[in-house]
């Protein structure tokens, strides 16, 4: 009964969608409304103004710098909410089903992880540092770093992973995304220009360019490491609370 009602409602929504799609400008067009206002300027002057050959990085870190700074607080508050709900993991103690399982991780999985994980981390560092001149960036690299550590925790178990990534080391890194952004923004204030201005007055052109690319790299690295570690902490907190189902099964 409910299913039929839902399907009818979805059909109504689908009619509205199809009508709207019929009214939308054609895909692939070069002069659709979204490409005629601010985009030509970004494409033309993006490298010069934002200091990144990758226009997307320029938009994220420079034109929309405030937006990205808010985004780093979003992932930080996600971590805060998860910790408030689940609490931190305890060192060398885990109730996760991975650790409670009697079955050892297979040798194939261990060996493959041992060979692949260093390469994954190297690729993450490359992605973070290459956000400016080519495809890449802080959030993407952070996701790869986080994924590599999460795979480690899944293969070797939470106690081993919390030994390698202890809470004391993760705590300062979790806030590094926001702190890197704030620190680089305040440098602009100290030089008498607006918050999050990366071109500092009073320096010769060449030096100012170098300083700007250095500041952007610091922000990217902060976002990468901070974002990655935040997701590692979230997964550790979740893994520690995993065991309830197993206790139910054993009754």
């Amino acid at each position: 009964m409910k299913k039929a009602l839902v399907l009818m409602a979805l059909a109504l929504i689908a009619v509205v969608f199809i009508y709207a799609i019929g009214k939308m400008p054609p895909m692939n067009g070069k002069d659709t409304p979204d490409k005629t206002h601010v985009v030509p300027r970004y494409l033309e002057k993006g490298e010069e103004e934002a200091g990144a050959r990758n226009i997307i990085t320029g938009i994220i870190l420079n034109y929309r710098g405030y937006d990205t700074m808010g985004e780093t607080t979003v992932i930080f508050s996600a971590l805060a909410a998860v910790i408030a709900l689940l609490d931190r993991e305890k060192r060398r103690r885990s109730r996760s089903s991975v650790d409670a399982s009697k079955v050892e991780t297979s040798t194939v999985v261990r060996t493959v992880a041992r060979f692949v994980l260093p390469v994954v981390v190297l690729f993450a560092v490359y992605t973070i540092l290459h956000g400016e001149p080519s495809a890449g960036g802080g959030f993407q690299g952070g996701a790869i770093i986080g994924a590599s550590i999460i795979i480690f925790a899944l293969v070797w178990g939470l106690p081993e992973a919390t030994d390698r990534m202890p809470l004391g080391a993760r705590l300062p890194l979790e806030s590094s995304a926001m702190l890197a952004f704030l620190a680089m923004g305040v440098i602009g204030l100290a030089y008498g220009v607006h918050f999050l201005t990366f071109i500092l007055p009073g320096l010769s052109a060449g030096v100012a360019e170098t300083v700007r690319s250095l500041m952007l790299t610091v922000i990217e690295a902060g976002i990468g490491v901070g974002g990655g570690i935040i997701f590692v902490s979230i997964v550790f907190a979740m893994m520690r609370e995993d065991r309830y189902e197993l206790q139910q099964d054993r009754k």
Binding site: V6, I21, M27, L43, R53, I75, G227
Partner: protein, 122 residues
């Protein structure tokens, strides 16, 4: 509004389809994890729609090569917006999953009917 316009905008059609699939999952499936998966499918459909808006036929990635002028560059703004969107989607999913863990600890199940203590009509 014409049929050819709808066929030409096939990316939008598929993102609408994905959105409806996600909405159906959220509305009908009683399992909370399945509802979350539906929510993520809906989010992905929105990402597909907005990234498709910035597409240019045969366009290149918006990375400026030194001294080379390319006319066919895709719109970078939707891509930058969607990067933000993906991060927010992951954050909300993380919070929702930890809520699911707490619910599972309290009730021992993730089925909406069992949690509410009554049969849920599907």
């Amino acid at each position: 509004m014409s049929f050819s316009r709808i066929v030409n905008n096939f990316n939008y059609v598929f993102s609408a389809l994905l959105f409806l699939m996600g909405l159906y999952t959220v509305a009908v499936k009683p399992n909370l994890i399945k509802k979350l998966i539906g929510l993520n499918i809906m989010e992905t459909s929105v990402f597909l729609l907005i990234v498709s808006l910035g597409m240019v036929g045969g366009g290149e990635a918006p990375i400026v090569e030194a001294g080379v002028k390319t006319a066919n560059i895709v719109n970078p703004i939707p891509q930058a917006l969607i990067l933000t969107g993906i991060v927010v989607a992951v954050s909300t999913t993380a919070v929702a999953l930890s809520l699911c863990i707490r619910i599972h600890q309290k009730y021992g199940t993730l089925e909406a009917g069992a949690i509410l203590g009554r049969e849920v009509d599907v």
